[in-house]
């Protein structure tokens, strides 16, 4: 990197069905919390990148970057919307990091937001499906759970992964969410609950799927040299990686992992000078339970095919070898698609600062976030280190 | 005539509903209906099937037997009373799906249940005059019947396709002659914008079906100087099992002459598909040299009669596509609620 970059403040709304809050109220709330956490004034913000997947479909509003700058009282700073389906938040952070690293800007807000409950759930499902290939996947009757079910079935076939192992991902993430005040669900579930939940696209059942969620999250990105002079423990962005893959699943060689995750992780690990074994805590993209199993394999926490086993052994629980989704993940905390990538950073920053309360991973110094767009057409990985 | 059948193919949806299942809903005695109509079950289209998909599958099967280049097809006619569009041809969908576009003529036909055989005559005329090399006529329907109407027991889905060309070595059968009998007889109709047909009850019998089928049959026998004994097989339009048997008896055909082409007990009345599928069932089994009498019937009303003689080429072509028996045996039974859901009769 041209210059070291740090996260100096984080903030998010509660995630859930926020019927009483509008899009603009949500982003203002998250932004104000991030600035308060960073202890800086709005006047100091130089630029903003907003991760937002589909405001056009969810609230019939495009041009949300301007809307947010306006309602945050931040005009005339440059404000840019970044879209990469469910990876929009992660991409917004990466743009903010690049902007600060380059020296063009000093204080940059990376925001993520999605208001999903202003449409009926069928419309929300349809909006999410626009992240898949409309001409050749959605056309054939595919939905997002459908496409992940195709990966799950193949993973089960090739590696013997079981529906119970997938269910254990949901059980763990719900358990973690119970310790996160911002999470959508504060409800423990059992493997049996998952297995007996209504079928969505088999082998995936309702409790294998992340919910429809409203939420916003913001982080403040700054040069590390300035961060070190501030009160808070600075959290350095040690590595950033992003990769693309075919938008449609059927065009890929492998259906049991995401090449974009592997490539983005390789890039981020190399930049940070660390490997999978160095990671103390990770927030991964568990839009479906199978997605977490594939992610922990693709990120190198275990060998390909052993993600189910690693989960079953409890190694991804808090206290395990590599705690994954301590926030509750997309499954337990909720998945406001554009906000997810930023909310993951909120969790890792809190963990590395030692501020994660009951879900704190003891002595966590290096953390990772992994955010996926679509079925893996986009993946973005960031690695963070305590900067003190 | 110097016209032959170059290929034939059928398609019948896989779903079936038994007479018992429908009778149960309306409190009727299934054994009386089965006996009265001589029908056991009928085919039901899947929710994603319609006349266009059935016509395409039948045409593709006919092409497998014909072994001709689709680009050599000069005319496509699709006869149906359940075209998916009121305006916009089914025939163009078929033309594109069998890669026959763009140098051909195409049109949809409607003459109740006989539009498919009307298409055969049109193709035969165009071939005879040298305007086209091959023509394909398809009769296909997803027949509508109002719930509770006696038609509900028989109104089925299926289609047959016949490829017509010169009567040369490629021809699996020769069309020796054709004769039609037509009058204005309103025995069965469906008005514009109405979902279900209406019918004249017993009026659909004597003055309608019987008068036209018998007249067309007598006409062609007279024209070609043939008698029922000259035919190995006869196929009559089959709105139910009883009518074709009665008409055969009246004409002097025996049971053994019509058994091969009597498909209605197993699949119901496929309307425009009915006579076409009956002919296909005979071609599936007939020997070279055997002669077949085919008489369609369309309400409104009219009948087209054909005398067809099977040729050597049948042996080489017959096994190239699924046979009517294959469709008979490949079935999934559904219950009445599933049936009305598949027919789109449940309003959400």
């Amino acid at each position: 990197m041209m210059r070291e970059v740090a996260i100096i403040g984080v903030g998010m709304t509660k995630f859930g069905e926020l019927w009483d809050l509008s899009f603009r109220q949500m982003i203002i709330e998250a932004g104000a919390r991030a600035l308060e956490d960073a202890n800086i004034d709005g006047k100091q913000i130089d630029a903003m990148y907003v991760g937002n997947m589909s405001s056009g479909q969810f609230i019939s509003q495009e041009h949300t970057a301007s809307l947010i700058a306006d309602h945050a009282g931040l005009v005339p700073i440059p404000s840019t919307r970044v879209e990469g389906a469910c990876a929009s938040g992660g991409l917004a952070l990466r743009q903010a990091v690049i902007a600060v690293a380059s020296g063009i800007h000093d204080f940059v807000v990376a925001a993520g937001i999605e208001k999903m409950t202003d449409v009926m759930s069928e419309q929300a499902t349809g909006a999410l499906a626009t992240a898949a290939d409309q001409e050749w996947e959605v056309y054939a009757g595919a939905t997002f759970p459908g496409l992940y079910a195709l990966m799950a079935r193949r993973h089960m076939y090739e590696f013997g992964t079981t529906e119970e192992q997938m269910a254990m991902v949901a059980v763990k993430n719900h358990s973690n969410a119970c310790m996160n005040p911002c999470a959508q669900y504060h409800m423990k579930i059992t493997v049996e609950n998952v297995l007996k939940s209504p079928p969505v696209v088999l082998p995936l059942k309702l409790l294998d799927c992340s919910p429809i969620t409203d939420g916003a999250a913001c982080v403040v990105v700054a040069p590390a040299e300035k961060a070190r002079k501030m009160d808070r423990v600075p959290v350095l962005v040690a590595g950033t990686g992003q990769a693309s893959d075919t938008i449609s699943l059927h065009s890929r060689q492998s259906l049991t992992g995401l090449r974009a995750t592997v490539e983005a992780a390789r890039m981020a690990y190399k930049m940070a000078g660390v490997g999978p074994n160095d990671i103390d805590v990770a927030e991964v993209h568990d839009c479906f339970t199978i997605a977490e199993i594939m992610a922990i394999e693709d990120l190198g926490f275990c060998k390909k095919g052993e993600g189910g086993k690693l989960t079953e052994e409890g190694q991804t629980e808090i206290g395990g070898r590599i705690p994954v989704n301590t926030s509750g993940g997309l499954k337990g905390k909720g998945h406001p698609v554009g906000a997810t990538g930023i909310a993951q950073v909120v969790e890792i920053v809190q963990q590395l600062r030692g501020e994660a309360g009951k879900r704190q991973v003891k002595g966590a110094e290096i953390g990772l976030t992994h955010n996926v767009g679509g079925t893996g057409g986009t993946a973005v990985v960031h690695i963070f280190k305590r900067g003190d | 005539m110097d016209v032959g059948i170059i290929g034939y193919g059928v398609y019948i949806p896989r779903y079936r509903i038994r007479v018992e299942e429908i009778a149960k809903v309306w409190g009727e005695d299934p054994s009386r209906i089965k006996q009265g109509l001589m029908i056991e079950e009928k085919s039901v289209p899947a929710p994603d099937e319609d006349t266009a998909t059935i016509a395409v599958e039948a045409a593709r099967n006919a092409l497998k037997r014909a072994k001709i280049k689709p680009q050599d097809i000069g005319a496509i006619y699709v006869g149906s009373e359940s075209h998916p569009y009121a305006v916009k041809p089914t025939a163009t969908i078929v033309a594109e799906a069998i890669e026959a576009t763009p140098n051909l003529t195409a049109a949809d036909m409607e003459f109740a249940c006989k539009a498919g055989t009307a298409g055969i005559q049109a193709c035969a005329g165009l071939v005879e005059m040298g305007m086209i090399k091959y023509g394909i006529s398809i009769g296909a329907d997803t027949a509508q019947a109002a719930p509770g109407d006696p038609l509900e027991y028989t109104a089925a889905a299926g289609g047959g396709a016949i490829i017509v060309g010169k009567n040369n070595d490629e021809a699996l059968a020769e069309i020796e002659g054709t004769y039609s009998y037509t009058t204005d007889t309103p025995d069965f109709w469906r008005r514009e914008m109405r979902p279900y047909p209406k019918h004249g009850g017993r009026f659909t019998g004597k003055p309608a079906y019987f008068r036209h089928v018998l007249s067309a049959a007598h006409g062609i026998l007279r024209q070609l100087k043939l008698t029922p004994q000259d035919f190995a097989h006869a196929v009559f339009h089959q709105p139910n099992g009883k009518f074709p048997c009665q008409v055969a008896e009246e004409l002097g055909f025996s049971k053994s002459q019509i058994v091969c082409g009597l498909v209605v007990p197993k699949i119901g009345n496929t309307y425009s598909g009915s006579t076409m599928i009956g002919l296909a069932a005979v071609l599936d089994k007939a020997k070279p040299g055997e002669r077949i009498l085919v008489v369609s019937y369309g309400s409104g009303a009219g009948s087209d009669a054909f005398s067809i003689q099977v040729k050597e080429a049948i042996e080489a072509k017959r096994d190239s596509a699924p046979k009517v028996d294959d469709f008979f045996n490949n079935k999934i039974y559904i219950d009445y609620p599933t049936y009305i859901k598949y027919r789109g009769l449940l309003v959400r």
Binding site: E122, T125, G126, A129, D133, E135, W136, E137, V138, Y139, A140, G141, A142, T143, P145, G146, L147, A149, L150, M151, A152, R153, R154, Y157, P198, P199, V200, V201, L202, P203, L204, S248, L249, H250, S251, L255 | R14, A46, P47, D48, E49, D50, A52, T53, V56, E57, R60, P84, Y85, I93, E96, A97, E99, I332, K341, Y342, G344, R348
Partner: protein, 130 residues
């Protein structure tokens, strides 16, 4: 949607017309407009694909998207065609419990969807077990 979006895909969806690169000989479906392997050196030409293939993976849809509600439960699958390319499709006319990875399937012509009650009807490929 306006009709052209579907109309222009008719050959591909009715008859599995994909593309083949004359440079690397790879067969591609859905059709592509530049070879992803050879890029500008590629020579793409229309290529008619085989209508048979095998199920690579599948799922059973119980919660369907708009327009597919009447068909649940239905089988959504990735099929690998004999020529190599894979596609996403429905496997129809079968009991979802009887579908397995590796099952042989063949193309059928079906109604895919339509623009409301009074709009254009879209047709295309689905598959059924052989």
């Amino acid at each position: 949607m306006a009709a052209p979006r579907f109309w222009r895909e008719i050959p591909n969806r009715y008859n599995l017309i994909g593309t083949k690169c004359g440079n690397c000989n790879k067969v591609l479906f859905p059709p592509r407009y530049i070879c992803p392997h050879c890029r500008r050196m590629g020579k793409l030409e229309p290529y008619k694909l085989s209508r048979r293939g095998k199920i690579v993976t599948y799922g059973v849809v119980h919660v369907a998207p708009e327009g597919f509600e009447d068909q649940v439960p239905y089988v959504l699958a990735i099929v690998e065609l004999e020529d190599g390319p894979r596609l996403t499709t429905q496997v129809v006319d079968c009991d979802p419990n009887e579908v397995k990875i590796g099952d042989e399937v063949e193309l059928v012509f079906r109604r895919i969807g339509s623009d409301n009650e009074d709009g254009v009807i879209y047709y295309g490929f689905k598959f059924r077990k052989v």
